[in-house]
């Protein structure tokens, strides 16, 4: 009977402590009954017979799971809400982190573009891990309480209030909203950073736009603010309407025109020539900046074109 004892102990190890004794006691009684029935058929049982019966009952972990089925970490009724919270919080964390790192980058003499990239994405991964863990733990605690069977799907909904059925793209993805929001806030920080920096910090800055370029960008501020308001509007509505699409087309087309206009102006940058001496010459850097601006302009131009076509088809 040593085998039976070992088997019961192995099952009990997989069970919650409060249920171990009771289930172990009941499982022992059931196994002993089966062994008695087997002995009636076959006569005296050998260790091999007992082992075969236990093997037939299944792995101790499987048996324990049949008695106490494993619970998901987060209850299924919370899953949609959990995912939505996760995307929202991660999006907001990214925007806040972008502002922090960009401000530091602009005021730092030692931080190049590559270090900026590492700081932006490496730092965000840190914050995202913290955010993910906190949200998951909060939902785990909620799931341990009696779960609400219809979270977010209450009985008060009205079929008449459902949005009209439209094409798949009409639903605005959270990642698109946060990408736009992060881009607009990045631009605002880059344009207005001289206002909140000391003369010393400005002198040390790795990136200095020419006064002509900064003036054009400063005139574009209302457009960027409009972009932020538009993103927040999208966050609230989450469904493209004709008005929202038209605003989006207008915004992107204007941004593309401004980027192309900037690409045609010279000089674009106000560079510390001593720092770049022997690495790049001024013309090479200016040309690279111009090409970068043309590539940047292609993105809003593409979105403006795509959304114009969508606007024509949207009733």
């Amino acid at each position: 009977m040593e085998l039976v004892k070992r088997y019961i102990a192995a099952v009990q190890r997989e069970l919650p402590e409060v249920k171990r004794d009771e289930i172990g006691r009941e499982l022992t009684a059931n196994i002993m009954d089966q062994l008695d029935a087997l002995a009636e058929q076959q006569g005296a049982l050998t260790e091999a017979d007992i082992a075969a019966l236990l093997k037939q009952m299944g792995h101790p972990r499987k048996v324990a799971q049949q008695y106490v089925p494993p619970q998901p970490f987060i209850n299924a009724s919370y899953m949609a809400l959990y995912k939505n919270t996760l995307f929202m919080v991660l999006g907001i964390l990214f925007v806040l982190h972008l502002v922090e790192v960009t401000t530091y980058w602009l005021s730092s003499a030692n931080m190049g573009l590559i270090r900026y990239g590492f700081a932006l994405f490496g730092g965000f991964i840190d914050e995202a891990c913290f955010g993910f863990t906190s949200i998951t733990l909060a939902y785990w605690l909620m799931s341990r309480q009696q779960p609400v069977a219809n979270t977010g799907c209450g009985a008060n909904w009205q079929p008449e209030k459902l949005p009209p059925a439209g094409p798949g793209w009409q639903h605005i993805k959270l990642q698109d909203i946060f990408t736009d929001l992060a881009s607009y806030i990045f631009l605002l920080v880059v344009i207005w950073y001289p206002l909140y920096m000391s003369a010393e910090q400005l002198a040390q800055s790795a990136l200095l736009l020419s006064s002509n370029v900064r003036l054009i960008l400063q005139y574009s501020t209302p457009l960027i603010v409009l972009g932020i308001v538009h993103s927040l509007w999208q966050l609230r509505q989450r469904l493209w309407s004709r008005n929202m699409l038209a605003t989006h087309v207008l915004l992107n087309a204007t941004i593309a025109v401004i980027a192309l206009y900037l690409a045609s102006t010279s000089p674009l940058l106000q560079l510390n020539t001593e720092r770049w001496l022997g690495v790049f010459n001024l013309q090479q850097i200016e040309r690279s900046a111009m090409i970068t601006l043309v590539i940047i302009a292609l993105f809003p131009a593409w979105e403006a074109l795509r959304d114009s076509l969508r606007l024509r088809n949207l009733k």
Binding site: E26, L27, A29, N30, D33, Q34, D36, M57, Y67
Partner: protein, 114 residues
């Protein structure tokens, strides 16, 4: 249809019926092994890994009462239908008979169409 698909659907089909069979069998008290034997003798083969946890769950829902008793030199846990379980069994039996009749018609029509 593959054998795995058939097994899965058969399992789903049997799951609800097993509760009815267990409740109906426990009008008289039984311990785990004797209940399994009774079901087997009645033509319902159910493995112990399904039956024993199922009885416990029904007892936790207060559909069964249970009592430890000494018998043949060993303790056994006897289960029997509670008052609540008896009410539920009556309702489930009506539901089963209604479903069985409706399905009989449907399956009869389907077999004629073949």
């Amino acid at each position: 249809m593959t054998s795995a698909q058939l097994d899965k659907m058969r399992l789903e089909l049997r799951r609800g019926v097993l509760v009815l069979a267990v409740l109906a069998s426990l009008k008289q008290p039984h311990y785990g092994y004797s209940l399994r034997k009774q079901l087997q003798d009645g033509g319902i083969d159910i493995d112990e890994g399904t039956l024993y946890p199922l009885i416990r769950r029904l007892a936790e829902q207060e559909l069964l009462t249970s009592e430890w008793q000494q018998g043949e030199g060993r303790e056994r846990r006897y289960y029997q239908l509670s008052e609540l379980g008896a009410q539920l069994l009556g309702q489930l039996t009506d539901e089963w008979q209604h479903l069985n009749g409706a399905l009989g018609n449907l399956l009869g029509t389907a077999s004629k169409e073949k």
